[in-house]
Amino acid sequence: MISFEIPEFITNELQMVKMVAEQVMRQYARYYDEHEHERPVEYIQIMWPVIREQYRQRFEKQKNGDRPKREGPDYRVLRLIMIIEMLSWGDAGLYLSTPDPALGGAAVEAVGTPEQKERFLRRFTEGEPKWGAMAMTEPGAGSDTSAIRTTAVLDPETNEWILNGEKIFCTNGSLALEESDGFVVVWATVDPSAGRAGMKPFVVEAGTPGVTIAKKEHKMGIRASDTAAIVFNNARIPYDNILGSPEVQQRDGSTKGFKGAMRTFDASRPAVAASAMGIARAALEFTRDKLAEEGIVVDYTKPKHALTAVERDLLEMEARHRAAWLLTLRAAAVMAYGRSNRLEASMCKARAGETVTWITQKAVELLGPLGYSREWLVEKWMRDAKINDIYEGTKQINTLIVARSILGYTRHELK
């Protein structure tokens, strides 16, 4: 039954999140933009006790095996999407540095054994702030994740995996490995000749010898978020740190590991889209408010020919924002009902990234010399926005996925 109803407990929780966004994130947004690589302690201090407690409850429940048999939709998916949107409305860079298991934790939860969950995830239920992260991208493997060259070789004598290679653009890589007792899920190949079938995820914990943060990137935007290059030089990790089966299945059952990696995108792409939409809404609301102070207000009852160019721009911004946001909510809802959302996830990510890029660029333009000034956050939002058009699959990669899906084509038919 078609409905756009948001459950009340989510709207209530969002009010709390909004307070953090307004009173903490907005206050420190500019500071951490101008002090790149400085740890945003104020935000982390607020978030960590809440996240730790929520995670502890969830962790204990799962451990006790009393995972309730779910009737109806999984509200958590929608809740998460809406919280991400609100936090990103506050500040996208700070949102990205939220201390939590993140994509690394999701991978462990998805395919880890009970022992692995205990070893790797319990840390998020106690103590100091910690981060989980995921490392896939390499200098030679961007959109083409199957081209990764980081290797994992089993040492039969010690029963350890030996990792060698370089990962780049790892969000929170430094926070996870150097600045907290966290971990990174690293994708490496156990058999370079096997292509996609050889790709496996490994958990690399903080303090592992042979693992170094080679660099923290200097970026156009989301500067509060750490983006690390990680080098693995004969880094040894226990055999049990591999997630899923170590078997390289051949042609028949083929690319399970790779497909596993791709499946995480079904959840992470709507999350990125939601973050994009939070920035877009921030820019849209701010622009609308500032223009209203100048007496420029969209009258929704006027015909198009009676609106000024600026009013039409504002209307267009609102329309494109709403369209991309509804696509995002749909991707989350489809997932919440337990259905495959591969197509919807790519659609919303492609549209949200493009839309936030356009809206924030337009916002800077409409606010003129003040929009371009660093006194306001609009120019920062424009810089923050662009990453959403790039990471978790560029707009082009997601469009390619949409195209293959609607045409029923494989990657061989549509390259």
Binding site: M1, I2, S3, F4, E5, I6, P7, G72, P73, Y75, L78, Y300, T301, K302, P303, K304, H305, A306, L315, E316, E318, A319, R320, R322, A323, A324, L326, L327, L329, R330, A332, A333, V334, A336, Y337, M347, A350, R351, T399, L400, V402, A403, R404, I406, L407, Y409, E413, L414, K415
Partner: protein, 364 residues
């Protein structure tokens, strides 16, 4: 909780309309456009699907299952078949829905039973005006009260099926506000052009200009009686129908272009193997899906009884542009054949441009 799946009744309804659109409308819609006429049996068959009687309250002979969301879903399914045919089949809605939404009890009792019969009643409505500065909330056609009567003056355009209509719902500017008046066809001062209008698209649908020259009607013919109407609400319902029609037509254009691109071979392989084509199709798919969600959201707000004026305006801003873009890309995907009238794509492009002008041609 948020959900985007049709319910069981909506699925049955869209399947029935889909079959009608696929097996009957799409067989003749190209010829209908060329000949400027929709076969009478097709209109009758569309009427017999029973969309309107289902929505009319039981006390007036209907089934009382009124839902704007269901209406939007149904209109989309009709418009997948053909836009002009959809407008013709839905023309009785132009009177029935405003009477349902805003009529007095007497008006409902008088008019609503007409819409529960075996054949569509001959009624129409006149909103649009032939002027560049057309504004539905500030019309140039005037209605002035005078001794228990109203006197109307002005010119109306895009009045569907006016030549055969026995009753016209005319929208006019009464002291700065848009109100609606039920005017029998042969009222003195109301004339309809002998010749049909000549439009770029929807050529199968006969539309006319209508002239009001000191047309005098009793005050009780004002829709909603003394209270009149909340025109914004009626316009919002109309925009949902037009948005849904745009989505249905865009979906048809997208599917046709997609299927064409998969079978059209150039340079030794289907053109859909190229990103330049495949990416156009992907954008079309995203446009259609986003547009549909915006239409549904506006419809859902109306079903909840909320003021959807802002949502409807934002939705229309988006959908009008998207349907044009999708239709344009469909023509582009077909290349030279897209421009040839044996193929449907050029018809969809001509129709698509009209959504910026089709105010008042559909309502649910």
């Amino acid at each position: 909780m948020m959900d985007f799946e049709l319910d069981q009744e909506q699925k049955m309804l869209t399947e029935a309309i889909g079959r009608f659109a696929r097996e009957r409308v799409r067989k003749v819609f190209r010829d209908a456009d060329e000949e400027g006429k929709i076969p009478a049996d097709l209109v009758q068959a569309g009427w017999e699907i029973g969309l309107l009687p289902t929505t009319i309250p039981e006390q007036y002979g209907g089934f009382g299952e009124y839902s704007v969301v269901t209406g939007a879903v149904a209109v989309e399914a009709f418009a997948w078949g053909d836009l002009a045919t959809t407008f013709q089949i839905l023309t009785p809605n132009l009177v029935a829905v405003p009477v349902m939404l805003a009529g007095t009890n007497e008006q409902k009792a008088q008019y609503l039973p007409l819409f529960c019969g075996e054949t569509p009643p001959r009624v129409t409505a006149a909103l649009t005006e032939p002027t560049i500065k057309y504004d539905p909330r500030c019309l140039q056609t005037t209605a002035v009260p005078e001794n228990g009567h109203y006197v109307l003056n002005g010119v109306k355009a895009y009045v569907p099926l006016a030549a055969e209509a026995e009753l016209v719902l005319v929208y006019a500017n009464e002291n700065g506000r848009t109100q609606a008046f039920l005017i029998p066809r042969h009222t003195e001062g109301l004339t309809i052009d002998d010749d049909r209008e000549k439009l770029m698209g929807i050529r199968a649908l006969p539309t006319y200009r209508l002239h009001l020259d000191n047309c005098r009607i009793p005050a009780e013919n004002r829709l909603g009686g003394q209270h009149g109407i909340d025109f914004n609400r009626i316009l919002n319902h109309s925009r949902v129908a037009l948005g849904a029609a745009a989505v249905g037509m865009a979906q048809a254009a997208f599917e046709y272009a997609r299927d064409y691109a998969k079978q059209r071979v150039q340079f030794g392989e289907p053109i859909a193997h190229r990103q330049s084509i495949a990416f156009m199709l992907a954008e079309m798919a995203m446009d259609v899906d986003a547009a549909r969600l915006m239409v549904w959201e506006t419809a859902w707000l109306l079903d909840k009884g909320e003021d959807a004026t802002r949502a409807a305006t934002v939705m229309k801003t988006y959908v009008d542009d998207r349907v044009l873009d999708v239709a344009d890309r469909a023509v582009q995907t077909l290349g030279g054949y897209g421009y040839i009238r044996e193929y449907p794509a050029e018809l969809w492009l001509r129709n698509a441009r009209g959504f910026a002008m089709f105010d008042g041609l559909a309502i649910v």
